[in-house]
């Protein structure tokens, strides 16, 4: 009895120590996050809802009303959303196809594809943008290759919405490929073989065995890619049209060129809200999945 009680006490103490170590380990990153990110961010948010009128400062949503009343700003927001959604969907579709190929493919080609899919991870966005401009731009390598085989009438995507789209897809591939290959690695061969024995075809195996098991990875990848693209600057700035602008470019121009920091803050908070919505959706799905 006493021995058992002593054991329990020791176990409780060990668990407590473990918890304390855990908290100690997260304390530093949490502190950094609070001081360098959360605090300035909340100050910025507070500043956007305070309007200084003739009779002193007051709480108001005037800045936001102004943002949404401005067709130019609205158009930039809508463009950013469409561009991000389209790029994210395309990235995920391609990444999933590559991941499935990497999971079931054999031979040397698999290694080559794997390396190629991860390659953009090591290329900074600015280099990628320049390379893509030289390759896809007017009179660039791609156009010359097309003309060599007799295909004329090439319209370069450079400086059109298609430009950043291509840039995002290329830059965005490695991360979801990594996440999805990890997810697919957990799918057991037995399940697939069993399904095959019962006469399931490729499409059915994909839909009923693979897809349910990688939903989580897919959601993680989706949010990561979405957030990365929505907040991007270099690629849309260098490859995209002058207008409409992605929110990152719009914000930078408002802050730096037009020297209107408060408007830039409002744009930042709106962008943050979009990202927060995506994050909330992601977290809720993950929690549901766990239950």
């Amino acid at each position: 009895m006493t021995i058992a009680l002593g054991r329990t006490r020791a176990r409780v103490r060990a668990r407590w120590a473990e918890t304390a170590t855990g908290y100690a380990l997260v304390a530093l990153p949490l502190a950094v996050l609070c001081v360098l990110v959360l605090m300035p961010a909340s100050v910025a948010v507070v500043e956007t809802v305070i309007v200084t009128g003739p009779d002193g400062p007051r709480l108001s949503l005037d800045h936001y009303t102004a943002f949404f009343a401005d067709p130019f700003a609205r158009r930039n927001l809508i463009y950013s959303l469409i561009q991000t959604a389209a790029s994210t969907a395309t990235v995920l579709a391609i990444a999933l196809a590559i991941a499935v190929y990497l999971r079931f493919g054999t031979g040397r080609a698999v290694r080559v594809v794997h390396a190629l899919a991860l390659f953009p991870l090591f290329v900074p966005a600015i280099i990628a943008a320049y390379a893509l401009i030289r390759f896809l731009g007017p009179n660039g390598l791609f156009q010359m290759l097309l003309e060599r085989v007799g295909i004329g009438g090439y319209a370069s995507p450079y400086l059109t919405p298609l430009g950043p789209f291509i840039g995002f897809v290329w830059e965005g591939l490695p991360l979801p490929v990594l996440v999805l290959t990890a997810g697919l690695a957990q799918v057991s061969d037995h399940a697939i073989e069993a399904a095959r024995d019962l006469g399931a075809g490729g499409v059915r195996i994909f839909r009923e065995i693979l897809l349910p098991q990688v939903t989580r990875s897919l959601l993680i990848a989706c949010s990561l890619v979405f957030l990365g693209i929505f907040g991007s600057y270099t690629i849309p700035y260098m490859m995209g049209p002058a207008a409409p602008e992605m929110m990152g470019v719009f914000m930078q121009r408002t802050y730096d060129q037009l020297q209107r920091p408060q408007d830039a803050q409002v744009q930042a908070v709106v962008s943050f809200l979009v990202c927060a919505l995506v994050s909330v959706a992601y977290v809720r799905l993950i929690l549901k999945e766990r239950r």
């Binding site: 007017p138 370069s156 002058a242 207008a243």
Partner: protein
């Protein structure tokens, strides 16, 4: 972020500090701190040409170039630091600004932060180009102007006026472009030229101290009509490149035949073979595109003030002024008539008789914003 370079520089500085007493004993050596906010061509000019000339002219003295380009607000931060140092009577650790406008911080001129350049302090000040006149705290040592560059192999008759330029662009759809006005001076000054065109070609209408939001809307509104008319005929029907270099690149790749360019960047690009040798430059004769001078500034609390003044003097000397024309394709700060005759002859076609200017600040911001809202959008109006 600490780059490898910074670490190396740190080591270098550390070892220099250790070796310093020995050096001091050997020679009373002064090292000026020169701050540059300019592009690599300007950094090269100072490191490779001005520095050796300065060391030759002032044995035992040298300077260290610190580049602030792309770091926060660049030289502004250093000027703010110098002002703070003046208040606390400490070393500002800056002796010379390669280019800076002392109008910022607002009270710095009143507080006496900036050296007034006078003829008794700077030899050669009398030779300055009269077009460059500005505050006495500003020393114009180089200039450049926006021109129209075109491929002479494809464009037979160069436009000499705004109307001819627009007519050419309409006859050759997609073969002309200019950069976004907020992303580089070439595009900005092209837009300014449209503003001038729509407002009686009178650059004097726009001054740093006469901004008025209502007037701006009215005057810019007229300019937007001019530019919207041009818009569908430009490259990609309004796909404006994102800066000076992207515009140059389109010309270099043969995607367009005519663009607005900075004189110095175009001359250098032709020299380096980036632009084909058939590239020609022309200035509009009815009213030139804007340009301007780069003005140096010296803080009065500079630790090595005398040497800084010597450096200012050197920057106006004939060899350096010649190098500015020859090496970086810039315009001299001194009057062209004080340069060697052969050099003057070679550049006779683009020597400006007038250099229109357009103020930075409110007018400029309103113009850039208006351009994005009224010209760049492909929305039908």
């Amino acid at each position: 972020m600490i780059g490898r370079r910074n670490v190396l520089a740190g080591f270098a500085a550390g070892s220099a500090a250790l070796a310093a007493p020995a050096l001091v004993r050997a020679q009373a050596r002064t090292t000026l701190d020169v701050y540059i906010d300019g592009d690599t061509n300007i950094q090269d000019l100072w490191n490779n040409l001005v520095k050796p000339a300065f060391e030759r002219a002032n044995p035992g003295n040298t300077f260290r170039v610190t580049v602030t380009r792309g770091v926060g607000s660049g030289n502004r931060l250093i000027a703010e630091r110098a002002l703070a140092a003046m208040d606390t009577k400490s070393d500002p650790r800056v002796d010379f600004f390669e280019e800076y406008d002392p109008r910022h911080p607002a009270d710095s001129i009143a507080k006496g932060l900036w050296v007034e350049f006078t003829r008794d302090r700077i030899a050669g000040l009398a030779n300055l180009n009269p077009l460059s006149a500005d505050l006495p705290q500003r020393l114009p040592y180089r200039g450049s102007q926006v021109l129209i560059a075109y491929d002479g192999a494809k464009v037979k008759e160069a436009p000499k006026s705004w109307a001819e330029l627009v007519a050419w662009a309409k006859r050759n759809p997609g073969r002309f472009t200019y950069g976004r006005p907020d992303r580089g001076g070439s595009g900005r000054n092209f837009v300014v030229r449209a503003v001038h065109e729509a407002n009686g070609r009178d650059p004097g209408l726009f001054r740093a101290d006469n901004f008025d939001a209502k007037l701006a809307e009215e005057r810019f509104g007229r300019a937007w009509e001019v530019l919207r008319d041009l818009h569908p005929h430009t490259y990609g029907q309004g796909a404006y490149p994102a800066g000076n270099t992207p515009a140059l690149q389109l010309l270099a790749q043969g995607a367009v035949d005519m663009i607005a360019v900075w004189s110095d960047q175009a001359i250098q690009a032709i020299g380096q073979g980036v632009l084909p040798p058939t590239t020609k430059l022309v200035q509009l004769q009815d009213l030139g595109l804007c340009g301007g001078f780069a003005y140096s500034a010296i803080p009065t609390n500079a630790k090595n003030l005398d040497m800084a003044l010597k450096l200012a003097e050197l920057s106006l000397s004939t060899p350096i002024q010649t190098a500015i024309v020859k090496e970086i394709g810039g315009f001299p700060g001194i009057d062209w008539k004080h340069l060697p005759a052969d050099l003057r002859e070679a550049y006779i076609d683009i020597i400006p008789l007038s250099i229109p200017t357009f103020p930075s600040g409110e007018w400029n911001n309103a113009m850039n914003d208006g351009w994005y809202r009224s010209v760049a959008t492909n929305v039908a109006r």
